[in-house]
């Protein structure tokens, strides 16, 4: 068991290292460099050369990579040459905003998805299931920005309940952000619920026809106890990983939703950084997002390890 956890941890670190390579090399491979981005249209060959000398941009790529990685390990994400500010400072509040946005969506979405999934699974092919399943397929199929646009049209433009886009700076308090966050949260929740719900529903259906549920029924266990004690824990096990994947997707996919709503989060910052050729910022954000992605998957793996007796009690491996 401990060996298993240690192995997963090491594997995660290796993955993170490989990602750092890809992120760095990938971003560096883009045409132009930070110096052209920094000087923009005023760039002359002389000033470019001077700037490259100053920031060590002429060093071979592996030297620059090692320096960059060393800085990151020390907690220094570098300096954005476009915005002329440390990357960490730029990310700061926006990261907080994104985290609040995604965590709120997850806190609403995951329990909702499980409840709806269980209801749909238990009432298979009956009216509630048909309604839930059809809605979830629609929510899954529509791209996030379409859903967002439709919601903006209905709630912001027609009903005028919420602002259509955020016009506040990134450093306001969370309370002030709240009403501008509602529409992005609803959008994210809808997409997330759809994915998780469908899996919970399928698992629930499988588990409800299993021999052990039939056995529980024939041993006189009341229906409610069958669902909560015998069926649900077994239906949830395969769901844990999908929940983690969906959350991880949420962190990455939030970029588009944030852009649509002009929400001051890390995703919007990433899109802006790419347009501005702000290499240090892109690399910094990419590393943070990858870190979250890997951490979530690791948590899911460990969680299913703890919750699944078959894995927990396995010897060796």
């Amino acid at each position: 068991m401990i060996i298993l956890i240690a192995r997963r941890l090491i594997l995660s670190l290796v993955t993170l290292f490989i990602i750092s390579l890809i992120v760095y090399v990938g971003v560096e491979a883009l045409p132009g460099d930070s110096a052209t981005g920094y000087l923009g249209q005023w760039a002359t060959p002389e000033s470019l050369a001077a700037l490259r000398e100053e920031f060590g941009l002429n060093d071979p790529i592996h030297v620059r990579y090692i320096n960059w990685l060393g800085d990151i390990l020390r907690g220094d994400l570098g300096v954005s040459m476009v915005k002329r500010k440390p990357v960490a400072e730029l990310i700061g509040n926006r990261f907080r905003n994104t985290v609040v946005l995604t965590i709120t969506s997850a806190l609403v979405g995951i329990p909702l998805a499980i409840i709806l999934g269980v209801i749909a699974g238990l009432m298979r092919d009956k009216l509630p299931d048909v309604i839930i399943s059809t809605t979830s397929i629609v929510a899954m199929t529509l791209p996030g920005f379409v859903t967002a646009t439709v919601l903006i049209y209905i709630f912001a433009i027609r009903l005028e309940w919420f602002p259509a886009i955020t016009l506040v700076p990134s450093d306001v308090s969370v309370i002030e952000l709240l009403d501008t966050m509602l529409l992005p949260i609803i959008t994210l929740t809808m997409i997330m619920v759809a994915h998780i719900l469908r899996l919970v529903r399928t698992n629930m259906i499988d588990v409800m026809v299993s021999d052990y549920v039939q056995m529980a029924r024939l041993k006189g266990v009341p229906a409610r106890q069958i669902v909560f004690k015998h069926a649900l824990p077994n239906a949830m096990l395969p769901t844990i990983n999908i929940v983690a994947l969906t959350l991880a997707w949420l962190v990455g996919g939030v970029a588009i939703i944030e852009t649509v709503f002009n929400f001051p989060g890390i995703g919007k910052l990433l899109i802006d950084a790419i347009t501005d050729r702000d290499f240090a910022l892109v690399q910094g954000i990419a590393m943070i997002l990858s870190g979250i992605y890997i951490a979530l998957n690791l948590t899911a793996d460990l969680l299913s390890l703890v919750l699944n007796p078959k894995l927990r009690t396995a010897r060796g491996h």
């Binding site: 026809v209 299993s210 021999d211 052990y212 549920v213 039939q214 056995m215 529980a216 029924r217 024939l218 041993k219 006189g220 266990v221 009341p222 229906a223 004690k229 015998h230 824990p233 077994n234 096990l237 919750l307 699944n308 007796p309 078959k310 009690t313």
Partner: protein, 680 residues
Amino acid sequence: MSDCLVDVRELTIGYYNQKGTLVLVLQGVNLEVKPGETLGLVGESGCGKSTLGQAMMGYLRSGSQVLGGSVKFADHDMFALNNRQLETIRGRQIALIPQNAGDALTPTLRVGNQIIEAIELNADLSGAAAKNRMLELLAQVHLPHPDVMANRYPHELSGGQQQRAVIAMALAAEPYMLILDEPTTGLDVTTQAHILNLLRDIVADLGTAMMYISHDLGVIARVSDRIALMYAGEIVEDTNVAEMFKSPAHPYARGLLESIPRLNLAGIPNSMPGQPPIPGTLPGCSFAPRCSFISEICRSKSPPFTSIPGPPHRVRCDNWEKVLAIDFSQELQQVFRTIEHTTEDEPAIELSGLEITYHRSGFMERIRSIPEPPATVSDITLSVKRGETLALVGESGSGKTTIVRTISGLLPAKRGSIQFEDCDLTVEVDQRPMELCRHVQLIFQNPDASLNPRHTVAEILDQPLKLYFPDMTHDERRARQIELLERVRLEGRYRLRYPGQMSGGEKQRVAIARAFAADPEVVLCDEVTSALDVSVQAAVLDLLADLQRERNTTYIFIAHDLAVVRAIADRVAVLYQGRLCEVGTVDEIYSPPYHPYTETLLGAVLVPDPDHEPKLLASDTPELAPPAKGCAFQRRCPYCMPDLCVEEIPPWQFPESDDGHKIRCHIPINELLVDQKAAF
């Protein structure tokens, strides 16, 4: 309460299939069970016996519905009760012991807690009292260390232990009745015999009524007072055990009993032609198309359930007097036939010093030089003559499938050699020359898994033909396919069918035809009949024997059923934990002197004869790995000698001194003979 505990009246159950047509599962079933009685419900797959068992608990599979009749249990009309009322009866008054205990236990709950749940619901105990009762129940079903077992999850228990845990759960409230749905199918013979003894004792102690559902007439003979035989959703015969086995009155009962291979009769039993119809699709008797006693009335009118004078005996046949006029015990002696075939003296396959292991030393193990565990299969030296059938026999974990997989090249050998003619068969299959692959073919246990469901029979048979005979033209292959189908007694029109459109027996014939398409010298048969019904099994055994005689093919035949081995094999090798215990001809193996393990296996076999009592020698504790030294069977052997057997690998002994019979045991042959002759 009336004098019947269960009273099933004219029960008809069916479901609508995807096309919207009504398919019957049970038609007009009448059955009573008295308090404390043990009823065996027998029938082949698909006859509706499980549906009837579940219906007695007021349970229907989703989609099924009651179309007529009623089920009364302890005067409750089970299909008129609501769910809440059913919950108070199920588990408390009538409990189920299901077929696959491993699947019937919830994987995320500890075994003890699942039993406590049943106790709290049905026996009105809670807290410490419920826990004590749980431990008491686990001890009652002879589980070692109840407190340890209670804390385990289902997957941490062996098959036999899981079955015991489920029995404990069913006994929680000491119900009036137990429904047992094939509870020992899938367990090893020794485990099965132990579980059945346990059930008999418990039922006798508590006075519980029991309905035991099984396809295995040997098991039924062992546990029941009375037997009801089902065919195509109907009960066709209902009488006490002695009558059923000594003078069955329904032609189907006779056919079924005649198709079972017997330990005491050499040769292949009779097979029944045809297959059962879907219930309710024939105007007359369901069995008419397969019946040899058929008369005019059978085709037009469904026979009534008539009582035969004498002991309670009811039969659904118009010609029962004609059937009973023929003495069954004499008839039984005549149906077994041996298919003569010649074996040549030269060996087809020779295994010498074969050792196979699944263990792969990990990095850390190599660094710390941890010794390797004993190999899964070790020191196998055997020779199979051309045209001979060698059977490998043993419980699960005995290494028989491992050996066959190595011969077929699916697993590497660690040490030793496998010689086939001039070729070395220790080479894995992807490095073997095509001609060698062609000569060694494999038939698997389950045709559902070994035939591609998306290929027609023609495509399935085409594969080996294209692979091994690249010069064949399309027309030649087509002609060969039809010829192959004829050889396995299927009509040419089967070429266009998909596996899903055939019965289990037909599918296994196609799998056999595929193996013979390669025109092989050696055919490896891995439990080829264990997924089939007995009536079909006899036909497949017969077919295999015929095919062998035609081409002088060599068979290596794996089976756990010792009666099947008796029917088809020339020589037998008994394996325990991957080590040979005894090798000899069929006659030598099935009569004393035996290796203690052979004796244990033969003693545990349940034969379709109510007067036969199994002899339980060794415990049924499963072993996960062979011992590091000494005799492989030391831990379970009833005659184990503490020092000798534990320390030293036993020598081979040769009772006849000339031919192949050899027993690997420390006990001198004379002593074995004395004990065993006295016992049998």
